[in-house]
């Protein structure tokens, strides 16, 4: 059981540390001490990263908006997250009089825990850089991260405020809708990796010498959009749309409870990017990395962690960039995007990918044996070209045709207006 759960035992440099080697049983060392060290390190790194993500967001938004951004606390404002954290900790612990106290207190904790638990199975790097590699990894993440919505609903409900309630309702509908599209978008990639264990997905991509995004451009796109919606980021930040709902579900929250929601949001962002990197962008696999370092060596693992981190940060930057460039969707348009575009497109992606995989096997370009794919050079060309030339445009055209006649969700009957209009002078 333990071997199963903690697949990667402690590295030799750790188990050969003098104190540990002499006093602790190797079994305990491998399955108790090392995972605890990993968890401690991971929590420290992730929480620090989350704190600095807030600073990065503020800085990047400032640069986009021709401002300077925070630069007062510490050198170049680098201690700003610390100051923010201290401020939030020292604030009065405020609970509205008519709020449901217990639920109000527990809601941000649920949101936070759901966000942090999902960190356990993400392959942060090669070999021992992963805490756990359970074989339902992806399902585990989808299941746990959808628990986060519970915290939001409960928080919105318990606040006993109409804005919070509306925010919570929106968020529930949004997360349920996009969860479906997100799950479906991942299935196409699963056909190539043939496993749900996240570390194995990366290893498969390494073995095939490819990033799944080349096989699955449409899947990646759908996943990315759904991921942004799932984490309630702009342009899908309806649950906390400040211009309509003040602050949405956390209107009544202040101080540290608010910061728990805040940390959960950023941690979720991190997880969504990390999964996108793992499933679509090859995880820690970078072509040529194994030539630079001996695979399995300490340096190789460290380099793989660096590669994974860089890819994740690049995606996070994309998140920021989108947030500060686009206006916000309306609630019904958001639902429309999910149910009329994202989910059908994901289904079409599954069907087309499966068709081409079978076709490739019939043409003997791809061999599937022992639950593994072997792809010939021509097979790569076939799969990549069909993905880009057939799947993406075909889905686009098909959905465009289907949705052309669909009725607007907007309840007021509006005459369709031409999009390109000129103003008379």
């Amino acid at each position: 059981m333990l071997e199963y759960l903690f697949f990667f035992t402690a590295p030799t440099w750790f188990s050969s540390l003098p104190i540990l080697k002499d006093y602790i049983d190797p079994m305990v060392l491998d399955y108790l001490v090392w995972p605890l060290v990993q968890i401690g390190l991971l929590l420290f790194v992730v929480l620090t990263l989350v704190a600095y993500l807030t600073l990065a967001e503020r800085k990047i938004s400032a640069w986009i908006q021709v401002r300077i951004g925070p630069n007062r606390v510490g050198p170049e404002g680098l201690l700003q997250p610390l100051a923010d954290g201290i401020k939030l900790l020292l604030k009065e612990d405020l609970i509205p009089l008519k709020a449901d106290r217990e639920v109000f207190i527990i809601a941000p904790i649920i949101a936070m825990v759901a966000a942090l638990v999902a960190l356990a199975v993400i392959p942060w790097g090669a070999a021992w850089a992963t805490i756990s590699n359970i074989d339902i990894g992806l399902l585990f993440i989808l299941a746990v991260s959808s628990l986060g919505v519970l915290g939001i609903i409960l928080g919105g409900w318990a606040s006993n405020s109409k804005y919070s309630l509306l925010g919570a309702l929106r968020s529930a509908a949004q997360m349920v809708s996009y969860e479906v599209a997100m799950g479906l978008a991942l299935i196409g990639a699963l056909m190539f990796t043939k496993t749900l264990a996240l570390q194995d997905m990366v290893i498969t991509q390494e073995r095939l010498h490819i990033w799944n995004i080349l096989f699955q451009p449409l899947g990646f796109l759908i996943y990315l959009i759904s991921g942004i919606a799932e984490t309630n980021r702009a342009p899908f930040d309806l649950p906390e749309a400040e211009s309509e709902l003040v602050a949405g579900y956390h209107t009544e929250y202040s101080g540290f409870r608010f910061s728990l929601f805040f940390i959960a949001e950023y941690a979720n962002m991190l997880i969504v990017s990390a999964i996108a990197v793992t499933v679509f962008l090859g995880g820690w696999y970078l072509p040529g990395l194994s030539y630079l370092f001996t695979p399995g060596s300490t340096f190789f693992v460290l380099a793989s962690i660096g590669v994974f981190g860089l890819k994740t940060l690049a995606l996070l930057y994309l998140f920021f960039w989108i947030r500060w460039s686009l206006p916000r969707y309306r609630y019904d348009q958001l639902m429309e995007l999910s149910w009329k575009w994202m989910i059908p497109a994901a289904l079409a992606n599954i069907m087309l990918t499966a068709t081409f995989l079978v076709l490739g096997q019939e043409l003997a370009l791809i061999v599937s044996q022992n639950n593994m794919l072997e792809i010939s050079t021509l097979g790569y060309v076939f799969l990549i070209s069909t993905a880009f030339i057939v799947t993406v445009p075909l889905t686009w055209i098909m959905l465009g045709q289907i949705n052309k006649n669909s009725r607007d969700f907007n309840l007021r009957e509006v005459q369709p207006l031409p999009m390109n209009r000129t103003i008379n002078k």
């Binding site: 938004s61 986009i64 908006q65 021709v66 401002r67 109409k162 804005y163 509306l166 702009a234 342009p235 930040d237 309806l238 749309a241 400040e242 211009s243 309509e244 709902l245 003040v246 500060w324 460039s325 686009l326 206006p327 916000r328 969707y329 309306r330 609630y331 019904d332 348009q333 907007n410 309840l411 007021r412 509006v414 005459q415 369709p416 207006l417 999009m419 209009r421 103003i423 008379n424 002078k425």
Partner: protein, 376 residues
């Protein structure tokens, strides 16, 4: 006006939720309170509650000398203080039958058009912010800042300028004023293009504005809409053209108007208006004559002859009018302001019913209201 007469009674049994938006709400542009009756998120009815910023400006005016009233007008529509000041001084000049020197007229036109730019920039900023485009907000403020610096140099104040005096201007243009304005006008079209790159063909922006808050030309005229909301519905009406004041008759400009009367058309109309304002400013700078800036006959003690006077100008928000009753003394008997925002706000209910909460925010933004002017 609406069915919602008493929204405070708890015993009303209804399945619809009543959401109280404002007066402390980020996107009601001040202290407007809107009571929304919601079916899910669809607005079935709404009622505006105004008066949180009421200062009784009209009553105060009855107890002040004519010169002392002028600064109060900077504080009605504080976004467009120069335009408001212009309306007041012109009313009094009309009552006194004063002829204003040409240089003062051109300077007034330049300054009010600059003010129109700054007002429209603020509208663009907040409207985009309401719809979620935060970056446009700060970009528009960058340009507005340059305009406010010009105002600061000219009048010594950024927001409440107290720009004009009865009979002309207090200050002549400072050294380098023309160059600064010209410089701004040269850079401005590029900046406008930047905003339009972000918004004009943005699918989210289109889906949030096209077909939202439609009001037909007839309905707009019935309500008494003026300014961009009226022109967005396709009515070509601009007081600068219809009843030219100052030197507008000598200047060439077009009146932009839309055809569908939705939020997107009003957006396009205002964007085009900014271009036209720039055109007016450049022409006026070109033609700016030398000469005095105060009318030689301007009286020290202002005593308009007995009678009733009405004068209106095209402020950035619409038709701003002042109705003045004079009994021949140094203080007005009655001074009534026709605030464009107040009348434009009346269209909110008609525009919003059937839309979602998010659209109400967009519609409030597109009406471009200022609560200082509505409540007075």
């Amino acid at each position: 006006m609406t069915e919602i007469t008493d929204i405070t009674h708890p015993e009303i049994d209804t399945n619809e939720m009543i959401l109280n938006m404002g007066p402390q709400h980020p996107s009601t542009h001040g202290v407007l309170r809107v009571a929304l009756k919601l079916d899910g998120e669809v607005v079935t009815d709404l009622d505006c509650d105004i008066g949180y910023l009421h200062r009784g400006v009209e009553k105060i005016c009855e107890h002040r000398n004519y010169q002392m009233i002028a600064p109060y007008f900077d504080r009605t529509d504080y976004i467009a203080a120069v335009s408001n000041g212009l309306c007041y001084v012109e009313t009094i000049e009309k009552a006194l039958a004063l002829e204003i020197p040409l240089r003062a007229q051109y300077l007034r036109v330049i300054l009010t058009e600059l003010n129109r730019l700054s007002s429209h920039l603020l509208w663009l900023a907040t409207h985009a912010l309401d719809i979620g485009a935060v970056t446009v907000f700060l970009w528009a403020f960058r340009e507005r800042e340059e305009l406010l610096k010009i105002f600061e140099n000219f009048f010594g104040a950024r927001l409440t300028c107290h720009a004009f005096r009865i009979g002309g201007m207090t200050y002549d243009a400072y050294d380098g004023f023309q160059a600064e304005v010209k410089d701004f006008c040269d850079r401005f079209p590029k900046r406008l293009e930047e905003y339009e790159t972000l918004l004009n063909t943005n699918r989210i922006w289109l889906s949030r504005t096209v077909g939202i808050g439609i009001i037909s030309a007839d309905a707009a005229i019935d309500i008494g809409l003026t300014g961009p909301p009226l022109r967005g519905s396709g009515v070509e009406w601009d007081i600068r053209k219809a009843h030219p004041y100052e030197c507008y008759a000598d200047l060439e400009f077009d009146i932009p108007y839309g055809e569908n009367g939705d939020t997107y058309d009003r957006y396009l109309v205002r964007m085009e208006e900014m271009r036209q304002s720039r055109r007016i400013i450049l022409q006026a700078l070109e033609k700016l004559p030398d000469g005095p800036i105060m009318a030689p006959k301007a009286p020290k003690v202002v005593k308009p002859s007995i009678g009733e006077y009405y004068h209106s100008i095209e402020s950035p928000k619409g038709e701003l009018g002042i109705y003045l009753v004079s009994d021949g003394s140094t203080q007005p008997t009655r001074l009534r302001i026709r605030p464009p925002s107040f009348i434009n706000l009346q269209a909110l209910r008609q525009m919003s019913i059937g839309h979602l909460v998010a659209d109400v925010v967009a519609i409030i933004g597109t009406l471009d209201i200022v609560l200082g002017e509505i409540d007075r």
